[in-house]
Amino acid sequence: MDGKIKGMVYLTRKIEFSASHLYHNPALSDEENRRIFGKCNNPHGHGHNYTLEVTVEGEPDPVTGMVLDLKELKTILEREIMERMDHRFLNYEVQELKGQIPTCENIARVVWKLLEPKITQGRLHKVRLYESADIFAECYQNGANRQ
């Protein structure tokens, strides 16, 4: 194997963090909040073990054979995501989620925006955030190529 075989390689790293949240929109009535958000509207919040999968695309460096150094990706995820979100109350402690309902969809989008400028070797391809084993949200660039 050498550099003659071209094409993108997709690398995925997974992290887990635990956080609490609640869904409540003060612009809506209490009754609407309860109807739309159900038990997620509990005023004291509740928590999840989140699993985040981050996929980076790129051509492996001809010398190192890496798309990016996993150690570096690990450091970025630790600094940008774990420190911000792990064991936090997402509504109150994560600046980037202020003014948003901290749903899986919105957290995935925030994660994308935090990571995308920090990944300078290769390119962020996709983030997938699991709130539980059966619910997840993905975020990627509109019109992204098939993996």
Binding site: T103, D134, F136, A137, N142, A144
Partner: protein, 153 residues
Amino acid sequence: MLPKRGEPPVNDGLKVVLGRRYRFAASHRLHTEKLSEEENFRVFGKCNNPYGHGHNYVVEIHVSGPVDLATGMIVNLAELDQFVEREVLEPLDHKSLNEDVQAFRTTVPTTENLCKEIYRRLKEFPLAKVERVRIEETCNNAFEYAGSRNCGP
């Protein structure tokens, strides 16, 4: 400040997809009248056993659409669950795919075809766009279908 419902969504060039996994159990037999008995057995092997066999299927539904600023949601999961329950789980769970599902009276109920059938049943979902159906037939086999498009990231 959080808005009331009906505000225009954010357009930042990002696509957000919601995925939800469901489970059902059903039996099937892989057999086609287009082939002889011997050919059926050669092609389908033990999946051609005349009495059929079953699986615990896991169905993953991917939907996309604008995220409502007032709710943070593409679609309320309760409404997606209700639609999937009615269109997919209730008609398929604890059924014989060959005998109880009209589409498989004439088509082999492989999990490839099951993906397409479930996609067909869900594509009229009025509240979000069904992007993809992924089915795990066992923990070692998975199939995906995204309509006429490629599957995407």
